[in-house]
C-alpha cells in the first residue's frame, strides 16, 4: 500500500438526511440524520476504514460519496473538481473512476444474465472496446480475481458466496477505477473464504494503485486491511486516526468500548470489558450535545448540552470528546 499524502477525494461537511413520512397524508414528520456532518480527506492509494454500529450511517456515507444519494448538505471534491452539483451527464466521467463492492453481490447480479455478460456491461457503457476486445478483457478479469474462463457462461446461482464476491470485485475493477467503496465486502462470507477475498483485495490494490473506502463492522478485518480508520456514531465522526494509533491508543470512550467488546480468539487472558448501558438511540431523534452521552461511561453534565469540537490530539489523530 503506497499512500502518498495526495488528496484524491475531499468530503466537506457532508450530510444526508432521509425524510420520515407518516400520518394519513404521508407528510414529512421528521428526518433520519443518517450522515450528519462528515469532513474527510481521502488520500491516493490508502485504505480508509469506516466502522461503527449498525445504522450509524456507514453505507449511506459510502453511497453519498459515490453520488448514489443526493446531498442534503456539504461538498464533494474529487481530484480537485467540486462535483457536488454536477448533473448526471457531467458526472459520467467521474462515475467511471468510482466503483462500489457490495456486501451481497447476489442482490446486484441479474439471475438471468450470464456472468460474462454481466461483466461486459460496464465495458459497453464506459469504453469503446469491440466485442472481441471486451470478451478478452472479461476473461482477463475472471483470471485476475481467481475465477476460471469457463465461468463466463455460468449464471449467478451456480456460484458460491465467495465466488460471487469475486464476481462483484471483477465488475468493480473492470473499467479501471481509481476509487472503490467496499461496503462490508466480506461480512457475508465464511472465515476461510473471507481471508481469501481480503488477500485478493490487497493484491488488486497493490497492482492497480487503488484507493479504498472500506466499510465494515469487523474491527479485526479493518486492522488488517486499513491505513486509517474513521469511527462513526449516529451519523457523526467520533474518532479518526492512523490504524496503529486507533488500536493501540483508542481515545474516544465509544472507540474504547467498541474495541473492548470484541470477543478475542484467545483463551485464559480475561480482559475487563467496558460495558455500555442501553441501546443505540434513534437517528431520527439523536441526543443533544455529544451523540454518545446517553451511553457514555464518563459523560459529564455539559456533554448533554454542548457538542464536543473536532480536534487533533496527536498527529493525524482526531476525536470529538469533551473529557479526553
Amino acid at each position: 500500500m503506497v499512500v502518498d499524502e495526495q488528496v484524491l477525494y475531499s468530503v466537506k461537511n457532508v450530510k444526508k438526511h432521509f425524510p420520515v413520512r407518516g400520518g394519513l397524508l404521508q407528510r414529512v414528520k421528521n428526518h433520519v440524520k443518517a450522515v450528519d456532518g462528515i469532513t474527510l480527506d481521502i488520500y491516493k492509494g490508502e485504505t480508509l476504514g469506516v466502522v461503527g454500529e449498525s445504522g450509524c450511517g456507514k453505507s449511506t456515507l459510502g453511497r453519498t460519496i459515490l453520488g448514489l444519494e443526493s446531498l442534503t448538505e456539504g461538498e464533494l471534491v474529487f481530484n480537485g473538481n467540486n462535483i457536488s452539483n454536477y448533473s448526471s451527464r457531467q458526472l459520467k466521467p467521474y462515475k467511471k473512476e468510482m466503483q462500489m463492492i457490495f456486501q451481497d453481490p447476489y442482490a446486484s447480479l441479474n439471475p438471468k444474465q450470464r456472468i460474462g455478460d454481466a461483466l461486459e456491461e460496464a465495458l459497453i457503457i464506459h469504453t469503446n472496446l469491440t466485442s472481441l476486445e471486451r470478451r478478452e478483457r472479461v476473461l482477463q478479469l475472471l483470471n485476475e480475481v481467481g475465477l476460471k474462463e469457463e465461468h463466463y457462461e455460468r449464471y449467478p446461482h451456480e456460484f458460491s458466496g465467495g465466488q460471487r464476491q469475486r464476481i462483484g470485485i471483477a465488475r468493480a475493477i473492470s473499467i479501471n477505477p481509481s476509487f472503490i467503496v467496499c461496503d462490508e465486502p466480506v461480512s457475508a462470507l465464511d472465515v476461510s473464504v473471507q481471508a481469501q477475498v481480503i488477500k485478493l483485495l490487497r493484491d488488486l490494490q497493490e497492482k492497480h494503485g487503488l484507493t479504498y473506502l472500506f466499510v465494515s463492522h469487523d474491527l479485526g478485518v479493518v486492522r488488517h486491511l486499513c491505513n486509517r480508520v474513521l469511527v462513526m456514531y449516529l451519523g457523526q465522526m467520533v474518532e479518526l486516526a492512523p490504524v496503529h494509533k486507533l488500536y493501540e491508543n483508542p481515545t474516544h470512550p465509544y472507540t474504547e468500548a467498541l474495541l473492548s467488546a470484541i470477543p478475542r480468539p484467545t483463551v485464559g487472558r480475561k480482559r475487563e470489558r467496558i460495558r455500555l448501558r442501553g441501546d443505540l438511540p434513534s437517528p431520527s431523534n439523536p441526543p443533544t450535545g455529544c451523540p454518545f452521552h446517553t451511553r457514555c461511561p464518563i459523560a459529564k453534565e455539559h456533554c448533554s448540552t454542548e457538542k464536543p469540537a473536532w480536534r487533533e490530539i496527536d498527529e493525524g489523530h482526531f476525536i470529538a470528546c469533551h473529557e479526553r
Binding site: 454500529e53 449498525s54 458460491s160 458466496g161 465467495g162 465464511d190 472465515v191 476461510s192 473464504v193 473471507q194 481471508a195 481469501q196 481480503i198 488477500k199 463492522h217 469487523d218 474491527l219 479485526g220 478485518v221 486492522r223 488488517h224 486491511l225 490504524v243 496503529h244 488500536y247 468500548a257 467498541l258 474495541l259 467488546a261 470484541i262 470477543p263 478475542r264 480468539p265 484467545t266 483463551v267 485464559g268 470489558r273 460495558r275 455500555l276 442501553g278 441501546d279 443505540l280
Partner: protein
C-alpha cells in the same frame, strides 16, 4: 465428575434428494455434561444447525435421523414420537434459533409470547404466567419489563428481541439450552452484553448449553469444550484451551489462521484454499483432503480414524498416526 446430560452417538441425518438420501451429518458422537457449555464451530453448511435440529426433533420435513442415538437423561430422543418430543422441548431442552428477527411472531405482544409456554408446560394461570414473564424479562436485563409485556416485537431493538428470545427459551427451566448463532446478527457492544448474560445465567441456573457459532472469538469467551465440524463430520474435539493453544487438525489450524487478530498488527492471514464440498460431492478418504496442505496418499484412500491427543482432545487426521512426519505437531497415541 458431573453427570452427562446429553449423549449423541453415531448420529447420521440425511436429506431426501433425487439421487437418494444425502447425509448432512455423518456419524457425529459427542456428549454434554451438567453445567457445561459445548461450542460447535465450523463453516457455513458443515451441519451445525442440522445437528441441533436433530436433537430438538425439529428437522425440516425432507430430513430424517437415519442412524444413531441421542440420549438425553437416559431416554433416546431419536426414537420418540413427535408428541413426546414436544413435551421434551417444552420442559427440558430449549433452543434459541439462528434468525432472531423471524423467531418472534410479529402480530402478538411480547407478553403473549412469553406467557404461552408457561401456561402450557408449567400449567400456570394467566396471572401467574404474567408475573413470571416480567421476572424473566428482568432477569435477561430488559429495562422496564412491565411496559415491554404490552409491546410488539417491532417496537424493540435487535438486541432486546434477542433477550426476549432468551427469556422465552429459559421460561420452563430447561436443563439444556441450545443456542444457534444467538449473537451473529448483533453489534459487538450488544453481542458482548448477550455473551455476559448467557455466561451469568449458565452459572446461576447450572444449565448445560450447546452454543453454535462460527466466531472463534465468541467460542473463546464462552466454551468449556469445543467440537469442530467439517462437511458433516466432527474432525476435532477438545477443551477450549486445547483447541486454541494446541489445535491438531489442519482444518482447525486453518480456521484459526483465517481470523484477522485485532490485537496483532503483524498478523499473518493464511486463508485455507478452496471451499466446503456440497452435500452431493463424493470425496474419498478424508473429506478435507482436497483442501488440506498436508494431505498424503493415505488421506485420499481411507477415512481417518479418531486419534486421542489427551483424555479430552481427539482428532480425525492421518497425520496423527505413529510414524507420520508432521511439522511442528505433537505426536499422539492411536486409539
Amino acid at each position: 465428575m458431573k453427570e452427562t446430560v446429553l449423549e449423541v452417538k453415531d448420529l447420521v441425518t440425511t436429506f431426501k434428494s433425487a439421487d437418494g438420501p444425502l447425509p448432512a451429518v455423518r456419524g457425529a458422537s459427542f456428549s454434554v455434561k451438567k453445567g457445561e457449555t459445548l461450542c460447535i464451530v465450523g463453516e457455513s453448511g458443515c451441519g451445525k444447525s442440522i445437528t441441533a435440529l436433530s436433537i430438538m426433533g425439529l428437522l425440516p420435513s425432507n430430513g430424517m435421523i437415519a442412524d444413531g442415538s441421542i440420549y438425553f437423561n437416559q431416554r433416546n430422543l431419536a426414537e420418540m414420537s413427535p408428541k413426546q418430543m414436544q413435551k421434551v422441548r417444552g420442559n427440558d431442552v430449549s433452543m434459541i434459533f439462528q434468525e432472531p428477527m423471524t423467531a418472534l411472531n410479529p402480530v402478538f405482544t411480547i407478553g403473549f409470547q412469553i406467557r404461552e409456554p408457561l401456561m402450557i408446560h408449567l400449567k400456570l394461570s394467566k396471572k401467574q404466567a404474567h408475573m413470571r414473564g416480567i421476572e424473566l424479562l428482568r432477569m435477561v436485563g430488559i429495562p422496564s419489563p412491565v411496559e415491554r409485556m404490552n409491546q410488539f416485537p417491532h417496537e424493540l431493538s435487535g438486541g432486546m428481541r434477542q433477550r426476549v428470545m432468551i427469556a422465552i427459551a429459559l421460561s420452563c427451566n430447561p436443563s439444556l439450552l441450545i443456542a444457534d448463532e444467538p449473537t451473529t446478527a448483533l453489534d459487538v457492544t450488544i453481542q458482548a452484553q448477550i455473551i455476559d448474560l448467557l455466561n451469568d445465567l449458565k452459572e446461576q441456573l447450572d444449565m448445560s448449553m450447546i452454543m453454535i457459532t462460527h466466531d472463534m472469538g465468541v467460542v473463546a469467551e464462552i466454551a468449556d469444550r469445543v467440537i469442530v465440524m467439517y462437511a458433516g463430520e466432527i474432525i476435532e474435539e477438545g477443551r477450549v484451551e486445547e483447541i486454541f493453544e494446541n489445535p491438531q487438525h489442519p482444518y482447525t489450524k486453518g480456521l484459526l489462521a483465517s481470523v484477522p487478530n485485532v490485537d496483532d498488527p503483524e498478523f499473518d492471514l493464511k486463508p485455507i484454499a478452496g471451499s466446503m464440498p456440497m452435500l452431493n460431492e463424493q470425496i474419498s478418504g478424508c473429506r478435507f483432503h482436497p483442501r488440506c496442505p498436508y494431505a498424503f496418499d493415505k488421506c485420499m484412500e481411507k477415512s481417518p480414524k479418531t486419534f486421542h491427543v489427551t483424555d479430552k482432545q481427539s482428532v480425525r487426521c492421518w497425520l496423527q498416526e505413529e510414524g507420520v512426519e508432521q511439522n511442528g505437531g505433537r505426536r499422539a497415541s492411536s486409539l
